[in-house]
Amino acid sequence: MSTADWIVLFGTLFLIVAYGVYKTRGSRNIEGYFKGDNSMKWWTVGLSVMATQASAITFLSTPGQAYEDGMRFVQFYFGLPLAMVILSVTAIPIYYHLKVYTAYEYLEKRFDLKTRTLAAFLFLVQRGLGAGITIYAPAIVLSTLLGWDLSATCSFIGILVIIYTVSGGTKAVSKTQKYQMAVMMGGMLVAAFVIIDLLPEEVSLGNALDVAGSMGKFNVVNFSFDFTDRYNFWSGITGGLFLALSYFGTDQSQVQRYLSARSITQSRLGLLMNGLLKVPMQFFILFVGVLVFVFYQFYQPPLYFIEGNLDKIEQSSYAREWQALEQQHAETFALKKQEIQGFLRAKEQNDQPAMASQKEKVEQLNQQVAEIHTQAQTLVSRAVPEAETEDTDYVFLHFVVTNFPAGLVGLLLAVIFSAAMSSSASELNALASTTTVDLYKRSVKKEGSELHYLWASKFFTLLWGVIAMLFATFASLADNLIEFVNIVGSIFYGTILGIFLVAFYIRYVQSRAVFIAAILSEAIVIYLFFTTDIGFLWFNVIGCSLVVALATTLQWVIGRKAQ
């Protein structure tokens, strides 16, 4: 990294943190600390909701998803706009009229304290894990690619977030997220233009799209129904809908964002803004990944993107095999590039048979490249057993670090850090509010002053920040970060959503039935996760359906026994 990169990176981060601390000093009670005195306007709410969901994992992993698997991941978000509409109609008016601090407070009014406590506990476990991953994920990628110390990177992110979140609470989180979103989307827009500019002169944007399309990257929408397929229209519109309903309707890290709005109207508009912009935003980020893919059809990519491990491989007994693979990779790449150029010439001449023939050759060579990559991953696992073999999360950042001009590398790193910080801040704020309101104030210290609870809130924010940093420092990583986060979410969200759906819509069911149903459902979902190949998005539907079905049935049984 150049001096310009460091200036851009640290300048951006410190300005945002300083702004957050300065503008939001002086909360006097937990209403101000957790609900921002209900002062936020809809665009602040909308940007806050979007920034909370868009963690560093989005910007690291999503382009890598597109690079590897095409753009079909966008289907995951198809249920989100529908969820925003449903929540605007149902959950928002209820939360506002009850004047709750947390989503789980509502459950005590509807059922009882133990159901509230159970839902809060499930949230704290799931989001507590998530908060650690939110810090760890960018830290491990940055650490591996740039040689930064992992613990120091985790601590750096964590400490920055703790400073303004402890200081200013919800207001600090929301106000900084506006600028973090600007950095994130501005940075990605700059990245897209830079990538297009870096393509060979003879390759236009249209040519780039043709290459990407011919190699299957525009596999955006798939209407075929396959229960084991992770991403298709049906899993997105149903499983994705349930996930979004649960995440935005019952996860305190999101609920807290829109509960800070000035009114129901502002809250609704914020969510609907997310409903309008989220899908195009994700499409754009995936598209950046496709552009990186096209770039690497004309400029040779590394055999393995995690370059931090290359020294160890080259010093191992597998060095010769590795060099042979690299040679094979280079030769196959050169052949493929020729065929791709042949494809573009045929397209220019509108020679359909030649296009089809070239496309087939490119597909075969692409398959060979994929096989060489798989062999490389096998070699890595043998030469460096502790190394990560799955390198899709490193593709985008490796590309940025090795190809972007000075200053812009710093900007893209600022994107990653801003995304990590914006999500972490919301998570810490939510973990603290649930701990304070649903557990501490409700069950431990019921008679305290406002000042006492304010200090308790700050303490719990700090505590969860430290826990998240510690977890990040000791966590290990799954194959793909964005999938791992959503898998963890899907295992818990269905049950929590089921509890809330019963609460909102099935008045017949009382506390004992829903409590037992929730515990049984969670156990079944966890069992299914470990023993079947069901796509993870479906666990949202399964968990939710189980709670609703079991709660209704149990209530009937309990009712009959009572009679």
Partner: protein, 46 residues
């Protein structure tokens, strides 16, 4: 929806629309348009 909560029928209307239904249809319509566009993209390059 839970009928115990007395939602004020005179709640503010959203900008540009006479009722919230219009906003909701805008969001849903936007989704449909995007899915149609993405599907066209998929077919065009398939």
């Amino acid at each position: 929806m839970d009928k115990d909560y007395n939602i004020n029928p005179n709640e503010d209307t959203p900008p540009f629309f006479k009722s919230w239904k219009g906003m909701y249809w805008l969001v849903i319509g936007n989704l449909i348009a995007m899915v149609a566009l993405f599907y066209w993209l998929t077919l065009y390059y398939s």
